[in-house]
């Protein structure tokens, strides 16, 4: 190929223009989500001489070799992995906060103490009807707070299940989009701007997907991705242009489980895993509270029926029910509290059955059990908060590290702008020189 100063300069101008275009594109997308900084790879166009013509000069300028997408697969994988962990931890922490509020803010603990103390106060004068009325009112408050706590916990569980259900919908949507992106990637030509845009889209989708569940990815040479959900040993979610479907099932106690096309799915990361963990904790705490209510109702009622009330009738149950939701106050009159032993005359001041009721209550130790339950949830939450803090720091660092490498630095783009501008001007100068040379040659007379 014959070398030609003008065409070399033309290729230089073209290359500089491509460089300027890319720089402008980078600047324009400096704050676009998922945009990876592009840079141009230029190659010299030259030919080695043929046989016996080794000394020949054969230079033909520059050409665009490819658009480089400055994405580091390792850093991207780190962002996905740490993002998954943070999403799990933060979903769990949010849910646990709701559960903690449900139990703590409903005031169950205070109501239990008030009930216990009102019984103690009744020992001072077991026939005082105002003290008896106070016991019944405190019992009513306690029943109410237990019911509120139960409803609040149910509501918190409902919210978590809703979010997990939404997570399932999102995962299925993203899987479909990834499958479509795979199809288009298979058709896109290598290193084209079309391919880079599709790769950006693919990585954004993967990052979104990783916030719902932990995923493992395998990349093909043409940029297609195969996704397994639930980690490397999990089930296939996206293979080529087909996507599997995730679904969720709710058990009777409110806990949830996931499956991919019928295969059970165990999630270790992502918000769905956090919601699953929190729902398990919610079910456990609810069972603990229900057991406490059941024990208290059984033992207090048993002691109560062993004595006589203020009117000399044998005692009847104060409470009924065996869980927070079913707990109700049966006795509504203070006279019904059986403080006297069986067979006593009306208005007996003998408080030995009141002692029996208090002993029965002390045996259940509702305040101690409630304290333990509160400690359980708040201790778990405090621990998770620490974990979340650590995971957030790690995830933030991974994100910054990725964007430092793949994001747009405006200062660098400013420098590139100047550089390509100068290159453009220089190539223009070369054209002028070529024209001058041509003129010089024509001017020979």
């Amino acid at each position: 190929m014959a070398s030609d100063l003008l065409s070399i300069a033309r290729s230089g101008v073209q290359a500089a223009k491509i460089g300027l275009d890319l720089t402008a594109q980078n600047i324009a997308n400096a704050s676009s989500t998922g945009y990876v900084r592009r840079s141009a790879n230029f190659r010299e166009v030259a030919q080695t001489g043929g046989a016996n013509r080794i000394g020949d000069l054969s230079l033909s300028g520059v050409r665009l070799d490819g658009i480089v997408r400055n994405a580091d697969a390792f850093r991207q994988a780190e962002v996905r992995r740490t993002g998954s962990d943070v999403a799990r931890a933060s979903a769990e922490v949010t849910a646990l906060q709701n559960i903690e509020s449900a139990i703590e803010q409903s005031g169950v603990f205070e109501a239990i103490i008030d009930f216990e103390s009102s019984l103690q106060q009744l020992t001072q004068d077991p026939v005082d009807t105002s003290l008896r009325a106070s016991v019944i009112e405190k019992a009513r408050t306690m029943v109410g707070t237990f019911q509120i706590a139960g409803q609040e916990m149910d509501a918190a569980g409902e919210g978590m299940r809703f979010l997990a259900g939404d997570g399932v919908t999102q995962v299925n949507r993203i899987a479909q989009e990834l499958a479509r992106t795979n199809t288009r990637l298979a058709r896109a030509s290598d290193a084209s701007s079309d391919q880079t845009a599709l790769l950006d889209q693919r990585d954004t989708l993967l990052e979104q997907l990783s916030t719902y569940g932990n995923i493992a990815t395998t990349f093909g040479t043409d940029g297609q991705v195969a996704v397994k959900i639930g980690g490397a040993s999990g089930s296939d979610l996206v293979v080529g242009n087909s996507a599997a479907s995730v679904s969720m099932a709710t058990a009777a106690d409110g806990t949830i489980s996931f499956d991919v096309g019928g295969t059970p799915l165990t999630l270790a990361g992502g918000s769905m895993a956090g919601q699953q963990l929190a729902l398990t904790k919610n079910a456990q705490l609810k069972a603990d509270l229900d057991t406490l209510v059941d024990n208290m109702v059984t033992d207090v009622n048993a002691a109560q029926t062993g004595g006589d009330d203020l009117d000399g009738n044998s005692g009847t149950a104060i409470f009924s029910g065996n869980s927070m939701a079913t707990l109700t106050l049966v006795a509504t009159d203070g006279r019904k509290i059986a403080t006297a032993p069986a067979g006593s005359a009306p208005r007996s001041r003998d408080a030995s059955n009141l002692t029996a009721i208090r002993t029965a209550l002390a045996g259940v130790d509702p305040a101690g059990t409630m304290d333990a339950i509160l400690f359980d949830v708040s201790g778990t939450l405090a621990g998770r908060n620490v974990t979340l803090g650590a995971l957030e720091t790690i995830a933030d660092t991974a994100k910054v590290a990725l964007s430092a490498q793949s994001g747009v630095d405006l200062d660098q783009e400013a420098v590139n702008l100047v550089r390509f501008q100068q290159a453009f001007q220089a190539s223009g100068k070369v054209m002028q020189v070529a024209s001058d040379i041509f003129d010089t040659l024509l001017a020979i007379r």
């Binding site: 103490i113 020992t123 001041r349 201790g379 405090a382 430092a404 702008l417």
Partner: protein, 306 residues
């Protein structure tokens, strides 16, 4: 936070935002501590301290109940003491009357007059024995639902209360008997036999009003009345020592309550000085961060290249 060189513009803004946000939330947390006076906004802020605070709150509630119990016991025992003081003055008067009646110089009709007064005093003694406590129950009737003593048609008093006075819990596993039953101090040993003050007073009044043998009966009653006075004052000493016991327990409870308050402040209270210093520190760092951010954000090559 991390420092990475050669970062992208978006990363710079993101990181600055992260740092500023962290500082801001720190300042807000300290502010919430100061305005509420509580270090813990919710249990999970410090589960162990929160559990301790719950136990302290529980102790406080029971302490309030113990306080009312103590007040009730004090009232009952003071009422007992007052009733007994009145009884001693009546018994002293009875002694005077018996001494007068024992004198041979008095005529039978004069003795009958004395007998009327003795009978009157005896009625007072019976009604004192049936005094009610603060809650309207018989003070000397143990756990009786009604009166302590009842009078039959002939006017003989008999005890119908229970054998023992009830106890009242003072907290910390301590209890005090809230009073005395009638027989505990109205029945005493005299001349080798167990006698009842109300019975001997009735016998004396009957003997004096009947007109015959009044002097001898009065003479015989003198020793028994002396023993009766002794029995009442001894019982008063018991009541006094019980009141002392209550005072001791009140002191103990007050000390414990002070201790609890101190612990509560230590475990859950916010240290204002520390919080203010911390807030100042945070605010200073926040201001510095904001200032340096606005300076750094203004640094752009585009404004230099022309």
């Amino acid at each position: 936070m991390s420092t990475i060189f050669g970062t992208s513009t978006a990363a710079f803004y993101e990181r600055s935002l992260m740092n500023l946000n962290a500082l801001r939330s720190q300042a807000e947390e300290t502010q919430a501590e100061m305005s509420s006076g509580q270090r813990l906004q919710r249990s999970s802020d410090d589960p162990v301290a929160a559990s301790r605070l719950r136990q302290l709150a529980r102790a406080d509630v029971f302490d309030a109940i113990d306080t009312t119990a103590t007040n009730r016991a004090t009232t009952d025992l003071t009422l007992t003491d007052n009733a007994m003081s009145q009884m001693t003055s009546f018994v002293t008067r009875l002694q005077e009357l018996a001494t007068q009646a024992a004198s041979a110089t008095l005529s039978d009709s004069q003795r009958a007059g004395i007998g009327e007064e003795v009978a009157q005093i005896r009625e007072n003694l019976v009604s004192l024995a049936n005094t009610r406590d603060g809650a309207g129950n018989a003070l000397f009737g143990g756990e009786s639902a009604g009166d302590a003593y009842t009078l039959d048609a002939a006017g003989n008093a008999s005890y119908i209360g229970t054998g023992q006075a009830g106890t009242i819990s003072l907290g910390g596993g301590q209890a005090v008997s809230r009073g005395l039953t009638g027989p505990e101090f109205l029945q005493f040993q005299s001349g080798g036999a167990s006698v009842d003050l109300l019975t001997i007073t009735k016998t004396l009044a009957d003997a004096l009003t009947s007109g015959t043998g009044g002097a001898a009966a009065a003479n015989g009653a003198l020793a028994a009345l002396g023993d009766g006075l002794n029995a009442i004052t001894t019982a008063q000493t018991v009541v006094g020592s019980r009141l002392n016991w209550i005072d001791l327990n009140t002191d103990r409870r007050t000390a414990l309550s002070e201790q609890r308050t101190t612990e509560k402040t230590e475990v859950g209270g916010a240290d204002l000085t520390e919080s203010i210093a911390r807030l100042q520190n945070t605010m200073l760092v926040l201001e510095a961060s904001q200032a340096s951010f606005s300076k750094l954000a203004n640094l752009s090559l585009f404004s230099v290249l022309r």
